[in-house]
């Protein structure tokens, strides 16, 4: 299981949790797992999220690997100017 | 509205064109003569991207009417190099990376060439005030000012 940290604004959509454990080997599976555990997160994830895995911000790629002991943070989708 | 027939000299060549009385010299250069080196950044004389010289005097071509060019001598960025040989300012601007996007560059080059003709030995402050009518949003002016000062020094040495 991978522990995923949510930004606290998402707590309301994740039944009050700011950490969610999911079964996942990739970033894509992390996101699928989150929606499965808390369907309320669907809209926020569809709106665009990035995922920080062990400090590296994965802006959009779903295929990046995730280890069971990885530090995983959900972040809002990065863009720039 | 009937058009006006204009005969003028541009970069040393005699040119004739018909223009609407409302058209600016910049419109004529760009849309009628295909000389798109002068740029329209504002249309109100604030940005200097359309700088050309009229009888040797630096002007914003967006503030001059096309009809007013009759009988005058216009030079634009297209007339700055001699064949393949760049003007020393052009060469130095490339070497110093005194341009990033390059949209203001033709106007700044025309303006600085006019400055150096008037004042071959300007101080940094004089260059900065002379160029205060030419906006550049990319560079912070640092490399532009250095390029102008160094070109002026080179040209003084060469003359």
């Amino acid at each position: 299981m991978v522990e995923v940290n949510l930004w606290s604004g998402l707590r309301a959509l994740a039944d009050g949790n700011d950490k969610v454990e999911v079964e996942a080997k990739t970033v894509g599976e992390v996101l699928e797992g989150l929606v499965k555990a808390h369907p309320g997160l669907q809209e926020a994830i569809d709106a665009g999220v990035s995922v920080a895995v062990d400090g590296r911000v994965i802006a959009s790629s779903l295929t990046e690997p995730v280890q069971p002991d990885s530090e995983v943070f959900l972040m809002q989708r990065l863009k720039g100017g | 509205m009937s058009k006006i027939h204009v005969t003028t000299t541009i970069n040393g060549d005699q040119v004739e064109y018909l223009c609407d009385p409302r058209e600016t010299l910049l419109d004529v250069l760009r849309d009628r003569l295909g000389l798109t080196g002068a740029k329209e950044g504002c249309g109100t004389g604030d940005c200097g991207a359309c700088s050309v010289t009229l009888d040797g005097r630096l002007v914003c071509s967006c503030l001059v009417l096309g009809a007013e060019a009759e009988g005058h001598d216009i030079t634009t960025i297209e007339g700055m190099a001699t064949g393949e040989e760049l003007h020393p300012l052009q060469q130095k601007f490339i070497e110093y990376a005194a341009l990033q996007c390059g949209i203001c560059t033709p106007g700044i080059l025309v303006a600085t060439e006019a400055l150096l003709k008037k004042n071959p030995n300007p101080t940094e402050t004089e260059v900065r005030y002379w160029l205060a009518g030419n906006l550049c949003r990319c560079t912070g002016y640092d490399k532009i000012i250095r390029a102008v000062m160094d070109t002026a020094a080179d040209m003084r040495e060469a003359s």
């Binding site: 911000v57 720039g80 | 996007c101 640092d142």
Partner: protein, 749 residues
Amino acid sequence: MALDAQKTNGFTQVGTRPNRPDGIDKVTGRARFGADATAPGMLFATIVRSPHAHARIKNIDTSKATALAGVKGVVTRSDFATGLTGENWNILENVMAGDTALYDGHAVAAVAATSALIARDAARLIEVEYEALPHVTDVDKAMADDAPVIRAGAADKSVPEGLHPNVVRYHESGHGDVEAGFAEADLVIKDHFKTEATHQGYIEPHACLATLGGDGKGELWCCTQGHWNVQKICAALLGLETANLRVTASEIGGGFGGKTAVFIEPVALALARKTNKPVKLVMTRSEVFRATGPTSSTSMDIKIGMKKDGIITAAEGTFRLQGGAFPGAPMEFTAMCAFAPYALKNVHQVGYDVIANRPKQAAYRAPGSPMAAFAVESVIDELCNQLDLDPIETRLKNASKKGTKASFGPMFDRIGLVETLEAAKSHPHYTASLKAGQGRGISCGFWFNHGGETAVTLALSEDGTAQLAVGTPDIGGSRASMALMAAEELGIPYDNVRVTIADTATLGYNEVSHGSRVTYASGLATIEAARDAVKRLCGRAAAKWGIPEDAVKWENGCAVPSGPNAGDFDPLPIAEITKRMGATGGPIVGHFEATPEGAGVSFATHIVDAEVDPETGKTSVVRYTVVQDAGKAIHPTYVEGQYQGGAAQGIGWALNEEYIYGEDGRLQNAVFLDYRIPVASDLPMIDTVIVEVPNPGHPYGVRGVGETSICPPLAAIANAVSAAAGVRLCELPMSPPRILAALEKQRDG
């Protein structure tokens, strides 16, 4: 992506400063920008814009306009696709108003005619009947209970109950216990800050030339930071097949984020479709100000607690961003960047995305971050003043480094903040003496940077030269960086690489040139494409020599046997291989298509000396030094240029630039004379120090450099003003009237 071969030294070309490949085009007027294109039979278009901040559009009568000789077509909202949802709907709504004009300058119709003058005359003949509605342009007023609702139902699910419907998105993040942290502090400072919207201010107005036939096939030429994005959005807004619209990026006269958005291109295409002729559409400067770009305006509350020794015990920020009449103000970045430079046990940040009757905000260089730095770094400066601490030492004590839990959640990888602070501390500027009336300010800044979808091809020619096709428009000299990286890998002269910005039909999707991604992502792609080509070159040599491919390596532009056991062959130069490539297996082309995900974050520290004239309230910046981590500077001169340009834009934002709205909700300063960007005589030379802490996610260690440079100036100048004149300005811009008012208040005690 695992980078098994990071190269951090031994470069032969990277790090040198050659002339840019497009230099001559750009100093002779030959380079073709957005407005420089023509087509046979071309029409000229003009857009009709709302003079109201908020109004229902009751009727549009185009009969007088269409009756004018030379007018070939008029379009309104009904000429665009229907049934759009999400961001596509928002973009269409902004490109051409539907039932309601949402801001002064909102497009309501457009006309194409045989000349620009006729189009302008025709636009005046289009009669629009409006019913004015109540409006609001200020962020705090837009959130107040009595504010008019700009668009019911625009809020998403993130917004807690009980907030005004103009609050459309909400962000909250942080960790630890801020209340406990504040209780530990020896001094807690709390303050309120406001910043006005500023415009990116690129000198080239938006411009395009569109062709679209009855067969649904189109060509579009435009100045943009990302032509694939333009292609995708225009196809959606016009109901076209994406592949049938080919978009070519012109040279781009500045963007800074403002040309990541789409404004006029769908309008030109709609007119081209309607008239069956090429249509050229160029914005005026006042249209650029009224209807494109600006940043968000902000209202922010910051509270920071500090021990006497300078350790920050807790930090809290509330960030309200007004982003125009559409969702999307980058408040989450404001919140996430605010405290990123500091290692904090207790931190909490809240963001509100607020809509108002203003143009849709667009990205501007590190969107959202400079405002946060202004507020946070001002409070840190005040804490240092009151606790009598050195501003750099205090920042060093709290600085984020590898392994720090970032204020936005995850742990930092290798970062260079400490290195920029150390370099600033030892820079002669920091200890230089000041004249009377001058003050010195310090600030740090942070930006995430970005990778994004990237495709590059590198095709070798018969003579051993290389044609590199990239998909990211060259905004500030990136062709030079790309050519350096390709030349480095191939071992050929820099001048033997020709870099082209390819159109949408000839490369895979490339994300917009944003997020400081070009030298990072297109650079990584160029290096990988070159390595791919080298692999093929080695294969040809191996076949010629009759040895295994892995027994050949690439050195100084030649294939050579990889060791004594591989055999004894003379080095085979690139041109010898490419000369015969047609007969030895066909053209040699290297590729890269992927989404690099290793953009390293970046930090900067700025030092500025300012002088305040007590009579006029005018602030002069007398000395400026930028210290920033570039990871690895590919072409140091252009890195310096990014540092200087960001600092200059930040100086304008701090001192002069602002959107001024009247009581009527109309923009009052939509020309460069009144919206004053820095001119040459306003600025000093801007010194730069390039710090290089390699980014683990790039083959040479590159970090993006374009955006971070605009983050520190706002606060650095506010701190210098405070040091020079003893007044703390919490509202931007620090224009002479504001400074005079603050000085007066100080005198009155």
